[in-house]
């Protein structure tokens, strides 16, 4: 099936074309939903078979290139439209098509009755198309095509309900924010790409990476390339300081938040850094930057999550925080641990968002968790799956999140230092706390909503079945990555699977830790115990001792408002970036540069063209004799010129 991997790109494109062009004529929601979901479902099967086939190959033959056609062949630049099928891309593709399929199915229920039902599915399919190009592309250009494509789809889907208001602004403003912030990252990524081309004379992954290992390229060049690529990754994966768009992206329909802004697109940055691992490994200074940025993002986003009241906002900051973890892993060189967390996070975060969607749906679009309460009575299936996901993200032993998060924490100490571990562990505690604050306020305690107005109810099977499947994955998904200390001689299966992809980077960094298993177990016990304590504390505080929370909030009023207002980052941007740009644009660029200079030149050129062409036009008199005279004169002139030049 490896040779047919292009189907996973083609089918979603087909789904997009069918639903996008014929959607308004089909009208039947079921049919549209089936078309949209089945294209992704079949893609999933193709990826699955390709995966089985690849696993069957010896480890050194697991990298295959499926060439479709030569796309550009201009002046030495040869770009092929080709897909790279290797352990890394297959892992990502499994997550994208698998989780993507479940979310498509869920959307049939969630979007029921929407006036642009067809458009939603067309966009979702287009997103999968772009995302698969991003993951499977065998060179930076195809990756960039997908990179820009997912950005576009993200914009379209955040702004899907473009007539509505969102917080202080409107939905289109949130969509624009996401797009513009992403563009800043994309610019960095483009610069990185140009630099790669000028350094290695190629944009093909295998080519560039093999050259990167052996070419005599200075560390400064590697550092520059890596930092540009990392800026791109920051934009897509919402890292400091470009994370501001992700919370606002929650203006889109909830399945979109689950698919794009939690499970798949936002991990594109992680994927890209992991893909270019050899380049990053060759720039140790940038690796430290990545680790520090990841750590800070994880921590600060988690603190903001503590006090938010909008259910999707909490999950959004949680996503930013978890992405920070992934970058922390990449930064300390634990690439496979980062990808492992991408996968487990996709399961439980998609589940959390879809669960949140189910709640919002039944609560008539109410998103404030202070106005929920005791929902476990009304929505048992949502409740159970949601709690499983919350336990998974909190790192409850035995669930998927435990294995991946623990691996990251361990490497942050083993490859990094104790400080990374401490901040990581504190973040894990915070995560456990805000997740169970959310769970407790939502599902336990008394109903805090008007029962005569709202009638919470369980969602239909088309929505709850995907929840259950994801819950199953959130439980067992971690078992393929059991660390060496538990699995013994087999080692970490997931790690070994990705080994060939990161081998070059590992060679380059050559970190051989001298840490003992005892250290690993001690650190693990400490972090798990603290997280469990946080879960218990959150449950007690928000069911029985709510006054503790209120008292703490009033005692630390300054801190509380700072957190509640997200460290005023949006305001700071407004003041430091947006206002100056607006002012500068208006006064300098618009009123002076545009009106006076640009318009002056353009209008001047236009009137010049005007004059010239009115003269030329007069030559076309329609009189044949005149034409013939001009022609003869032309010949005479040419002859005259030749005589002169001889």
């Amino acid at each position: 099936m490896i040779d047919y991997i292009y189907l996973t790109v083609l089918l979603p494109l087909l789904g997009f074309l069918i639903n996008g062009l014929l959607g308004p004529k089909i009208k039947n929601e079921k049919l549209i939903g089936i078309i949209g979901s089945s294209t992704v479902g079949i893609s999933f099967l193709v990826v699955l078979f390709a995966l089985i086939q690849t696993v069957g190959l010896p480890a050194d033959q697991r990298t295959n290139v499926v060439e479709l056609f030569t796309w550009l062949n201009v002046a030495g630049l040869n770009i092929k439209f080709a897909y790279l099928v290797d352990p890394l891309s297959l892992t990502m593709a499994m997550v994208v098509t698998g989780v993507g399929f479940l979310i498509h199915v869920y959307s049939i229920g969630y979007m029921h009755g929407d006036k642009a039902f067809w458009k939603f599915f067309a966009y979702l399919n287009l997103f999968i198309f772009a995302m698969m190009n991003l993951i499977l592309g065998d060179n930076f250009v195809v990756l960039f095509l997908g990179w820009e494509g997912v950005g576009l789809c993200s914009y379209l889907l955040i702004g899907f309900w473009y007539e509505k208001n969102f917080e202080k602004g409107t939905v289109p403003q949130a969509a624009k924010k996401a797009f513009i912030v992403n563009r800043i990252g994309d610019f960095g990524f483009l610069l990185g790409m140009f630099l790669i081309y000028s350094t290695f004379d190629s944009l093909n992954f295998l080519d560039v990476f093999s050259k990167a290992e052996y070419f005599p390229v200075s560390e400064a060049t590697f550092g520059l390339i890596a930092i540009f690529l990392f800026i791109g990754a920051k934009g897509k994966s919402a890292q400091i300081p470009l994370f501001v768009w992700l919370p606002d992206a929650m203006a889109g329909p909830t399945p979109v938040s689950a698919l794009i802004h939690a499970a798949t697109m936002v991990t594109a940055g992680v994927y890209m850094v992991a893909r270019a691992s050899i380049i990053f490994a060759s720039a140790p200074a940038v690796m430290t930057v990545v680790a520090v940025i990841g750590m800070l993002t994880a921590f600060f986003a988690a603190t903001i999550g503590l006090v938010q009241n909008d259910i999707k906002k909490v999950l959004a900051y949680s996503t930013v925080s978890q992405l920070g973890y992934m970058f922390l892993a990449l930064g300390v060189g634990a690439f496979s641990a980062g990808i492992f967390h991408v996968m487990t996070h996709a399961f439980f975060k998609a589940l959390l968002f879809l669960g949140a969607g189910s709640i919002i749906h039944s609560m008539h679009e109410e998103q404030n968790i202070q106005k929920y309460g005791n929902l476990k009575k009304y929505m048992p299936k949502t409740f159970i799956t949601f709690v499983i996901a919350a336990f998974a993200i909190s790192g409850f032993p035995g669930l998927s999140g435990f294995f991946s998060k623990d691996e990251i924490l361990w490497y942050s100490y083993a490859n990094g230092n104790l400080f990374f571990w401490i901040v990581g562990a504190i973040t894990a505690v915070l995560t456990a706390f805000y997740m169970f604050r959310l769970v407790t306020l939502t599902f336990f305690g008394k109903e805090r909503f008007n029962k005569s107005e709202k009638h919470p109810h369980e969602s239909p099977a088309v929505m709850t079945i995907p929840l259950m499947i994801l819950a199953f994955l959130a439980v067992v998904g971690g078992y393929i990555g059991i660390p060496e200390i538990f699995s013994g001689e087999h080692g970490n299966v997931f790690h070994n699977w990705l080994m060939p992809v990161f081998a070059a980077a590992d060679r380059k960094m050559a970190v051989y830790g001298t840490h003992t298993h005892l250290e690993e177990i001690v650190l693990m016990v400490i972090s798990v115990a603290a997280a469990l304590g946080a879960i218990y504390a959150a449950y007690i505080i928000y069911t029985k001792r709510i006054e503790v929370a209120n008292k703490t909030a009033s005692k630390l009023k300054g801190l509380y408002t700072t957190l509640f207002n997200k460290y005023y980052v949006d305001e700071a941007y407004e003041f430091a970036v947006i206002k100056p740009i607006q002012k500068g644009s208006e006064k300098l660029l618009w009123k002076f540069f545009d009106v006076k200079i640009v318009d002056g030149i353009v209008n001047g050129a236009a009137s010049l063209v005007d004059v010239v062409s009115s003269v030329i036009r007069k030559m076309q008199t329609g009189v044949a004799q005149f034409y013939l005279i001009i022609m003869s004169l032309g010949i005479a002139l040419v002859l005259f010129w030749i005589i002169l030049s001889l």
Binding site: W71, M619, I630, I635
Partner: protein
């Protein structure tokens, strides 16, 4: 001269034989079915397809037909890949023109003269096929006259319209003058070298020392004849008047097929006669008669500038497209004036794309004119809303003509400009780029009328039948496909630049 002289040559001229047979057949059928002529277009189509099959059959075959009696190494007709490529362009555009004519109200009004119409089209086809492979001045002249005479009549085919008769007459006057000059040039060249065969002339030019002024004089005069066919400045004046007056199907045909034949002739004439040597990088070394480069640069830039600047003012779409096709002749010459294989590749790519985008634009203008009876830009107000398929398709063709991505037109211009930049002619490239900016204005103005102006009461929905939609889609597909996936066109062009003798 024995019989084998002829029989051995027949192998190389099968397409020309098929075209000649079709003329005779059409004339006969016209006499037999003088009441009901519905069969005629089908016979014409079949004739074109058979001719086309023979053309495809000629791919990768090379050789001379009708060998010269002076030097039997060379002949009057050179069959090679370069010629086959241009012949294919002619065949494809001929097929489209039959489709055009089938849907053209102008043509359908005169069914009783349908036999004549198609017989004349075949006259043009035959003329062009011979012109493309002719390597003898006499044959060049003869085929050019055959092509021209058929075109004169076709341009005035709807003779009841004043415009049409005027077009025909102007075309005739202009053609007669130019070919007259060309004939004069040919006679001088013959007098200088003692042969009419291009290859023998080339050999003579390289070995003997000749009076350069006389030689230059003859080349310029010959160029007048060719320049008139490709409507380059200052021989372009006939173009707008003729294009406007002729039936749209013929205008479209003249703007693509006739121009292709003219270009093929120009390239073959220069390459076989004056190129002495092609180096490893594909650069051509020319015989130093005068400054070839400067002359062609001036003509090329003048042609595109005149075409674009005059098009700015046109309110009649047909006339606007006429000027635009003049401008495109200017762009195409950019590929020649770098005198390299890369430039030649760029010309072949451009022609492949130009064929579809120009014919596409003309076809839609014709479909609209069928309904509204006008080509005035004001009648396009709000068309994008009333007939969205037509509007969007025309928009794509015009955007492609401008040369914007992601349409194929961009790829065509891209390769032309790459050839220029590689030849270090940055100034020329910049002037050409500025020209495309000017052209953006008049192309996009049509879009403005179609999509930004609301429909008026006059705007009506243009009904389309299945065949018309099919024709439009067939032309749209390459424009959209080659804009993204263009390596097949490039590869095709690369393998079809071989001209016999090098």
């Amino acid at each position: 001269m024995d019989l084998s002289f002829i029989t051995e040559s027949l192998y190389f001229v099968k397409p020309e034989i098929a075209a000649s047979a079709s003329i005779i057949l059409l004339v006969l059928l016209d006499l037999i079915f003088h009441k009901n002529k519905t069969i005629i277009p089908y016979v014409a189509l079949a004739g074109i397809i058979i001719t086309g099959i023979f053309v495809v059959d000629q791919f990768n075959i090379s050789g001379f037909a009708f060998l010269s009696t002076d030097n039997p190494k060379y002949g009057m007709i050179a069959v090679d890949n370069f010629g086959a490529f241009f012949k294919l362009i002619i065949i494809i555009s001929s097929i489209f023109v039959v489709a055009f004519s089938a849907y053209s109200d102008e043509i359908n009004k005169i069914t009783d003269r349908l036999g004549e119409y198609y017989a004349l089209i075949f006259g043009m086809i035959l003329g062009m096929l011979v012109l493309i492979s002719a390597s003898d001045l006499i044959l060049i002249y003869l085929s050019m006259e055959l092509l021209s005479l058929s075109s004169y009549v076709l341009a005035g085919f709807t003779k009841l319209r004043d415009r049409s008769s005027e077009a025909s007459l102007k075309y005739l006057l202009y053609g007669a003058t130019s070919t007259g000059m060309m004939l004069f040039g040919i006679s001088i060249l013959y007098g200088l070298t003692g042969s009419t065969n291009l290859y023998i002339i080339s050999a003579a030019l390289q070995t003997q020392s000749l009076n350069l002024l006389t030689l230059a004089f003859s080349i310029i005069l010959i160029f007048a004849g060719i320049g008139y066919k490709i409507s380059s400045a200052p021989f372009h004046f006939w173009t707008p008047d003729v294009y406007e007056g002729a039936p749209i199907s013929i205008t479209a045909y003249l703007s693509v097929a006739s121009k292709a034949a003219g270009f093929a002739l120009l390239i073959r004439f220069i390459k076989t006669t004056f190129v002495t040597f092609v180096d490893d990088n594909g650069n051509w070394q020319l015989l130093q008669v005068f400054d070839w480069e400067s002359l062609l640069i001036i003509i090329s830039l003048l042609t595109m500038t005149l075409g674009n600047f005059t098009a700015l003012w046109q309110r009649n779409l047909k006339r606007m497209l006429a000027y635009s096709s003049i401008a495109h002749a200017g762009y195409l010459m950019l590929g020649l004036l770098v005198f390299s294989n890369q430039g030649l590749i760029a010309i072949l790519i451009y022609f492949t794309i130009y064929l579809f985008m120009n014919l596409g634009a003309f076809f839609i203008v014709m479909v609209i004119a069928n309904k509204t009876g006008s080509e005035d830009i004001d009648d396009y107000d709000g068309l994008g809303f009333k007939s969205s398929f037509l509007g969007v398709s025309l928009a794509i063709f015009l955007v492609s003509l401008t040369g914007l991505p992601p349409t194929a037109g961009f790829i065509g211009k891209l390769y032309l400009f790459i050839a220029l930049v590689d030849a270090k002619m940055l100034t020329v490239a910049i002037i050409a780029l500025l020209n495309t900016v000017v052209s953006l204005y008049y192309y996009i103005r049509v879009l403005k009328h179609m999509f930004l102006t609301s429909p008026t009461e006059k705007t009506e929905k243009i009904p389309l039948n299945f065949g018309q939609i099919a024709v439009i889609i067939i032309m749209l597909i390459p424009i959209l496909l080659f804009g993204v996936y263009f390596s097949p066109v490039v590869d095709l062009a690369k393998s079809y630049i071989t001209i016999l003798g090098f």
